[in-house]
């Protein structure tokens, strides 16, 4: 009878769970889900190159981009100091960029060189996700733009076509954030100019943008990029060179300041990928530049 009673009691008794048992239960039932990798780069640009970042839905980015003239330490007659190391000459792009969805960003801007208006679109095709069973190992974006040069025609008597003003960029952006400190980017790029100065020179320039971003502190990063052209290197009588840039991001809440040195004077791909006139052969040919980005959320507060 005693045995029966024991068995009976064991049926009635309910197991007691310690807090750790409950935590383990949670872990098992709610394992870490792959979530999108954030902050691969600090900004929508690495320096000159587009990064994989886009404005999130209903967020507007107002960008001011400046490039000055070369530092010219070595130009003689104190030329560099005379121009305050390039600060007396500046080119500017003002731009607005807006997230229609979390994946699609559109933008428009105007830059000094060629009095060019540009209209751009960037789309996140693949988004890198954190570790997990079906994690995506890298991000893939498409970037495209159209530039409209609005300089007065150099020869108004000639029959000039509007289409001659247009240039286009198509770019794939492949990025990977390896860890909290290192992100790399590779961007196969095609720049097309409807009009070039001679039939001997190519309308299409292919290039391969490469770059990296390295976290220094929670609010700052070091960036570097290089955009070698794959064809037409000797065209245009060797006038053009590959763009190189090195710089820092400093983020202060809603602002990102990108301060850098680059041999490229252009601010859109049409201008810096295939139309960089200064060869990077020493510090003297670098220009100081900065991008200033201010983000506004158009989403209603609360909810």
């Amino acid at each position: 009878m005693k045995n029966y009673l024991l068995i009976l009691i064991s049926f009635f008794s309910i197991p007691a769970f310690a807090q750790d048992d409950l935590l383990n239960m949670l872990e098992n039932e709610n394992p870490d889900k792959p979530s999108p990798v954030y902050a691969t780069f600090k900004s929508t640009r690495v320096i000159n190159l587009q990064s994989n970042e886009t404005m999130k839905k209903k967020h507007l980015d107002f960008r001011i981009q400046h490039r000055f003239t070369p530092l010219d330490f070595t130009a003689g007659n104190n030329y560099g100091a005379y121009n305050l190391f390039g600060l007396d000459g500046a080119v500017l792009r003002l731009g607005f960029e807006y997230g229609i969805t979390d994946k699609l960003m559109v933008g428009a801007g105007r830059s000094t060189i060629g009095k060019t208006y540009d209209f751009m679109l960037k789309y996140k095709i693949l988004q890198q996700t954190t570790k997990g069973k079906r994690a995506m190992p890298f991000s893939l974006n498409y970037f495209g733009n159209m530039g409209i040069n609005t300089l007065a025609w150099s020869d108004p008597k000639r029959s000039n076509l509007f289409t001659s003003r247009l240039s286009f960029v198509n770019q794939l952006i492949i990025t990977k954030k390896f860890n909290d400190h290192v992100s790399l980017i590779v961007s196969p790029t095609l720049v097309h100019y409807n009009l070039v100065d001679s039939v001997k020179n190519p309308n299409d320039i292919f290039a391969l943008g490469i770059g990296g971003s390295f976290k220094i502190s929670r609010s700052s990063r070091f960036n570097i990029e290089y955009i070698p052209r794959l064809n037409g290197r000797d065209a245009f009588n060797g006038l053009y060179h590959d763009a190189f840039a090195i710089g820092f991001d400093i983020e202060t809440g809603g602002h990102v300041f990108q301060l850098h040195f680059t041999n490229a004077g252009g601010l859109i791909e049409q201008q810096f990928v295939a139309r960089t006139t200064d060869e990077f052969n020493g510090v003297s040919k670098l220009r100081f530049g900065f991008n200033l980005s201010r983000t506004f959320s158009m989403e209603k507060e609360g909810k």
């Binding site: 029966y4 009976l8 049926f11 009635f12 309910i14 197991p15 007691a16 769970f17 310690a18 807090q19 750790d20 409950l22 935590l23 239960m25 949670l26 039932e29 709610n30 870490d32 889900k33 979530s35 999108p36 954030y38 902050a39 999130k56 839905k57 967020h59 979390d102 954190t130 860890n179 909290d180 929670r218 609010s219 983020e251 202060t252 809440g253 809603g254 983000t295 959320s297 989403e299 209603k300 507060e301 609360g302 909810k303």
Partner: protein, 181 residues
Amino acid sequence: MKKILFTLITLAGIAGAAQAQLFNTSTAQIDFYSKTPVEDIEAHSKNAVVILDTKTNNVVFQVQNTSFVFPNKLMQEHFNEKYMESEKFPKSQFSGKINETIDYSKDGSYDVTVTGKLTAHGVTQDRTINGKLVVKGGTIQLTTDFKVKVADHKIQIPTLVTAKIAEEVSVHVDALLSPKK
């Protein structure tokens, strides 16, 4: 004798089924608010997981930091990248024990205190948190409001933005638990 035993076992089974021991949810809401004269910030997660053991009064909460949604997505990114460091510390959790005796078998409302450990940003703090527990129609609702000092969890705020982020963040939790299947 055998018959009696069989009946008893069956009864025990029915009794066990009628009163569940574990209650849980995976859609508990956690909100937090940071208020300063310069800027009010708030964020919401609806994906916190909770289990309550009604026999031992043990209760655990867990939330994935990346599940917090901010109206300003830039803040959301900074929250994860700069403050919570969600890649290193993906989850925040609380595990504790309800100090009061509660009759889970009938409807009722209780003011409770829960003593346990709050872990965020990899730092664990002993806390006793006041809350409310309501038993109603076979469900249990847990609500609480408490404050977290960001410095207690070694979350550093850069001097540039100290005016914008409160030193003490208010947290609101609302969890409706049903018997665990």
